[in-house]
């Protein structure tokens, strides 16, 4: 085997040479793509974008590129997000587009690919969108993980990307300048729930933070813990569970042993539902229960009694009532439909009540629209500048971005609303907004058991 | 003595497959190993070349205790074997099969040398024109030759042949016997398990007979073929057969 180790060594040496040689070999410039788009594009290529600012420009179609998770674990949320975006686009185009002061009319078109809910192809597809398909503006995929991969490409080609369905803070701490977040970041997902708890019962001191051991929930809960501790709460349990967990019984036993008054945490849809159901079946004595992601989904109602009293942070709720007046109150610009208009348009188009993912998709479109309107131009630099200076209010809520180099693009305007499942007079399960106080549609049930 | 087997016993579960087998083999001889089916002959081979570790006894090859050593150890020392149920490397060519023997056997050749050896050996066993065929496409007789070629390519000191004649027709048997003699004449010591008696009687210097895992006879071919115990083991007990005969004619 002596010869073999030699072979291995020499291979490593060759490899080192190859690596070194390749280091200097990259083409110096990012040539504009010369290849015509190949087949397989889901939409007919729109006419090429006119050079911005050209005097003869009368009508410009801006192409929005994104990937969607048509298959795989993010399929449902991603589909809702895409539907929301399409609805926005249709409404703008049907209204005749955005008219700029120089008379140019801006309409939109979109192009998207399936990312299969996994990372292997995201960069390939976004590069294709950015270079070959000449997308002018980008929307993120669903989920923080896929978005992180897409952000590298958007930044590299200097394309503006509005992220939606991607709440992690870390993406906005990597020095990007073209990536803007429509969602309230993970770090503020549950802080409102802590405030809600404080307003409901000043005597509660013990909270348990339990979470799915995944990127999103861990970031949310870590921030929530710091916030809760700063508010003087005692965190009696801070523990994760594996993302594949279906059986929470032993975990719940552990929670009971720690004896918290309130539980905050959760993860995604499946585990959240399972957790809530089993916590109820175990009859765990708990006064307050806030759970990530799962509760705002309509199918959470399938849990029946187990859903009653569960609180969930939501990016947006159909009941939320933001109006031009509320925009005026904080000095922001108002844009787009009212909440109920959005809901009825969405129901007319797709037959379902919109989830907050759908609203997020629509909001991403509104953010682009707002930026173009305020830039009064389709020039990418101008749009970028407009986004940096944006202070917008829509049915989805307030939008404003952090522009510091450390957190560029992080959403700082928007905040979560908190819903709670309650029984209405006729005994049906309904979602009520319980926090913040200004938007509340009902008093929170407290304690829940 | 190139090989000494000292009091080797081997059990499979409750079954004693070999019981206190002892034999000494001087260099350059052909030892015939015979016995009815299930007598433990192949098991003895497996113990000698390290496929099985015996529960009792020792195997000493070229002065070294190789009891329980891995098959590749004894292969490197110069022991090669063929199998009763041929084990060709089907998806490799005939030449590559033989090269494996040359590369990893006693002399540890590189590929180029191995290829030359393979050509020679294949010529020697009469498979020269089939070198590029896949081994899986050979017929049984050819596969037997291939096994032999593989073993020879490792330039062994000791060669264990397990029923190389089975399934061959008389003329093939004759030529194989010549081949085996020629190998011995090159100084290779051979143990051959064989059922084709006239052949094994002709080429062997000595014969050991196993029955139920026990050595029931040992000696020159002549001595052994006259040994009543051997005749009984092979043809069945003539007395018993007689008794049966009487019964059947009652």
């Amino acid at each position: 085997m002596k010869r073999l180790s030699w072979t291995v060594l020499s291979l490593l040496a060759i490899l080192a040479l190859v690596l070194a040689a390749c280091g200097g070999g990259a083409p110096a410039e990012e040539a504009a793509p010369t290849e015509a788009p190949s087949s397989g594009v889901s939409e007919e290529p729109a006419p090429a974008t006119e050079a911005p600012g050209a005097p003869e420009a009368k009508e410009v179609t801006l192409k929005i590129g994104f990937t969607a998770s048509v298959t795989g674990k993010y399929e449902v949320s991603s589909a809702a997000q895409v539907n929301g975006l399409k609805l926005w686009m249709d409404s703008v185009n049907e209204a005749g587009g955005i008219e700029l002061s120089d008379g140019t009319v801006v309409t939109f078109d979109y192009i998207f690919y399936d990312d299969e809910s996994n990372k292997e192809r995201v960069q390939e597809l976004y590069t294709r969108l950015a270079t070959e398909d000449n997308a002018d503006l980008l929307i993120s995929p669903y989920s923080s993980g896929l978005t992180a991969a897409a952000a590298v490409i958007a930044e590299q080609y200097g394309k503006v990307m509005i992220t939606t369905g991607a709440a992690s803070d870390s993406t906005y701490q990597q020095g990007y300048t073209h990536v803007f977040q429509a969602y309230t970041p993970a770090s503020r997902y549950l802080t409102g729930a802590v405030d809600l708890l404080a307003s409901l019962d000043p005597n509660v001191t013990k909270v348990a933070l339990v979470y799915e051991n995944s990127k999103f929930s861990t970031s949310v809960v870590t921030a929530a813990r710091d916030y809760a501790e700063a508010q003087g709460y005692e965190v009696v349990l801070f523990e994760g569970y594996d993302p594949e967990t279906a059986d929470f019984a032993p975990f719940i036993n552990k929670i009971e042993a720690a004896g918290p008054d309130a539980i905050l945490g959760g993860g995604h849809r499946v585990d959240g539902k399972a957790f809530a159901k089993q916590l109820y079946e175990k009859g765990t004595p708990i006064k307050f229960f806030a759970l990530l992601v799962a509760p705002p989904e309509p199918e959470f109602a399938e849990l029946g009694d187990a859903a009653v009293g569960v609180i969930g942070p939501s990016q947006w709720e159909p009941l939320a009532a933001f109006t031009p007046a509320s925009a005026e109150a904080i000095g922001a610009t108002w844009l787009g439909p009212l909440g109920n208009e959005f809901v009825s348009a969405f129901e007319a188009a797709y037959g379902d009540e919109p989830s907050y993912h759908a609203a997020g998709g629509y909001a991403a479109g509104l953010i682009l629209e707002g930026a173009i309107r305020s830039a009064d131009s389709t020039d990418p630099e101008a749009i970028l500048a407009a986004l940096n200076g944006m202070d917008l209010m829509t049915f989805y809520g307030h939008i404003k971005f952090d522009t510091s180099p450390e957190n560029h693009g992080l959403q700082i305007g928007h905040s979560m609303v908190y819903i709670q499942w309650q029984r209405d007079a006729s005994g049906n399960l309904v979602k009520q907004v319980v926090w913040p106080k200004e938007g509340a549609t009902a008093e929170a049930i407290y304690p829940i058991r | 003595m190139i090989l000494q087997v000292q009091g080797v016993s081997k059990w499979f579960g409750g079954l004693k497959a070999l019981s206190q087998v002892t034999l000494d083999l001087p260099q350059g001889q052909i030892l015939g190993l015979i016995g009815p089916n299930g007598a433990g002959k192949t098991t003895l081979f497996n113990v000698i070349n390290g496929v099985y570790a015996p529960e009792e006894g020792r195997v000493i090859f070229m002065g070294q205790d190789v009891t329980g050593k891995k098959p590749y150890h004894v292969a490197h020392m110069g022991m090669a074997r063929t199998h009763q149920i041929v084990q060709p490397l089907n998806e490799l060519t005939v030449r590559e099969n033989v090269m494996v023997g040359a590369c990893f056997g006693r002399e540890n050749h590189n590929l180029n040398e191995a290829q030359q050896i393979a050509e020679q050996v294949l010529e020697f066993v009469g498979l020269g024109d089939r070198a590029d065929q896949f081994a899986g496409s050979l017929n049984v007789a050819q596969k037997k030759r291939l096994e032999l070629a593989r073993a020879l390519a490792s330039r062994p000191k000791l060669l264990l042949l397990d029923e190389v004649l089975a399934g061959l027709n008389p003329s093939e048997i004759a030529s194989m016997i010549q081949t085996v003699s020629a190998i011995r004449d090159q100084g290779v010591t051979i143990i051959m398990i064989e059922h084709v008696m006239h052949a094994v009687m002709r080429v062997s210097d000595r014969i050991v007979v196993l029955d139920y895992g026990q050595q029931i006879a040992e000696g020159s071919p002549e001595e052994v073929s006259k040994n009543p115990k051997v005749i009984e083991a092979y043809l069945g007990d003539p007395k018993l057969a007689e008794r049966l005969g009487r019964l059947s004619h009652d």
């Binding site: 291995v8 190859v18 990372k119 930044e155 990127k215 | 084990q87 490799l92």
Partner: protein, 322 residues
């Protein structure tokens, strides 16, 4: 070396190099990304082939090396500030080391037991990394965009990573070829065909298997670093995705296991096919089912894969299709 004059090697290398050079000619970043995905698959499939195709051991969890290598590399890049080159070598080294440790143990298992054990190893590694705080636990690690500035900015960095990937892929093919046509490789093939017979012929099987395992693990380790460097972040479920592991086997099977060219064609073909299905208006909703159906047909009717089938049917091609 006689081996280097074989048309089989040059065919595989030339095909890969030609496909790999395509983005340089067009200058299109989009082509480059497509080609990167294909090269990544070719390199992974060819590495796996050293174990699966030559040695006959079905590693279902081979992706563990890619994931672990990627993690090691990203850790060194983002937390320790080492250069990409060192990170790539370290990724390969840690993967090789794990294979060496595992090789001494799980390679004793045969057939389905080995396959199950590799799944177990991958899942254990994923679960472990999910709890391993230095690697970011469930959050993983994200590379700062400014890191790309060391390599001339993101645009140049991505071209550079592509160049390295191309070089690495060619190297994997070369290694795959050299292994197959070496004495070491002959021993592996003998083990694949019949491990017991091989040992009897003197092949030191435990050692040979372990080295084959190590060799087939080093490259995925390096590739993992490249991929996640390009990707900008790494998370446990992306790094240890069992599905990708099985896709690697599928690619090897499609092209023909145990051949040099097979995994190259199999990987390229598989990725093209998936790419087409993904954007096809008819199939995109059931592309997974269509891919499954095609795989089933291959397994049932062309088990030797495309190259293997050709080699059997047209013996003249054996010299060309290694």
């Amino acid at each position: 070396m006689r081996a280097l004059r074989s048309p089989g090697l040059w065919l595989a290398l030339a095909l890969t190099a030609a496909a790999g050079a395509w983005p340089y000619f067009t200058g299109s970043a989009s082509n480059r990304e497509v080609a990167f995905t294909i090269l990544l698959s070719v390199a992974l499939a060819s590495s796996l082939n050293i174990l699966l195709g030559y040695t006959g051991y079905v590693s279902f969890g081979h992706i563990v090396f890619y994931g672990l290598g990627g993690y090691m590399g990203i850790y060194l890049l983002s937390e320790r500030g080492v250069s990409l080159w060192l990170a790539v070598l370290a990724g390969g080294a840690i993967a090789g080391l794990l294979a060496l440790l595992l090789g001494a143990s799980i390679l004793r298992l045969r057939g389905a037991y080995f396959a199950l054990a590799t799944i177990g190893v991958n899942e254990a590694a994923r679960a472990f990394i999910n709890n391993f705080q230095p690697f970011g636990g469930p959050i993983g690690m994200t590379l700062n965009f400014r890191l790309y500035d060391h390599y001339g900015g993101a645009a140049r960095a991505l071209w550079m990573v592509y160049g390295v990937m191309l070089g690495l892929t060619l190297l994997v093919i070369l290694v795959s070829y050299l292994v197959k046509n070496s004495k070491f490789g002959l021993g592996l093939l003998a083990i694949r065909e019949n491990e017991d017979a091989a040992e009897i012929m003197g092949v030191t099987a435990p050692q040979a298997k372990t080295w084959a395992y190590v060799l087939s693990a080093i490259f995925p380790g390096m590739i993992g670093v490249l991929f996640f460097f390009k990707n900008g972040n790494i998370e446990p479920h992306d790094a240890f995705r069992l599905h990708l592991s099985i896709e690697m086997i599928v690619m090897v099977m499609l092209g023909g296991y145990g051949t040099v060219l097979g995994p190259v064609l199999g990987a390229a073909g598989y990725q093209r096919l998936r790419g087409m299905l993904l954007v096809s208006p008819i199939f995109k909703n059931i592309q997974l089912a269509v891919a499954g159906g095609l795989l089933l047909i291959i397994v049932l009717f062309v088990p030797a894969g495309a190259v293997g089938w050709l080699r059997h049917r047209v013996p003249v091609l054996r010299k060309v299709l290694e």
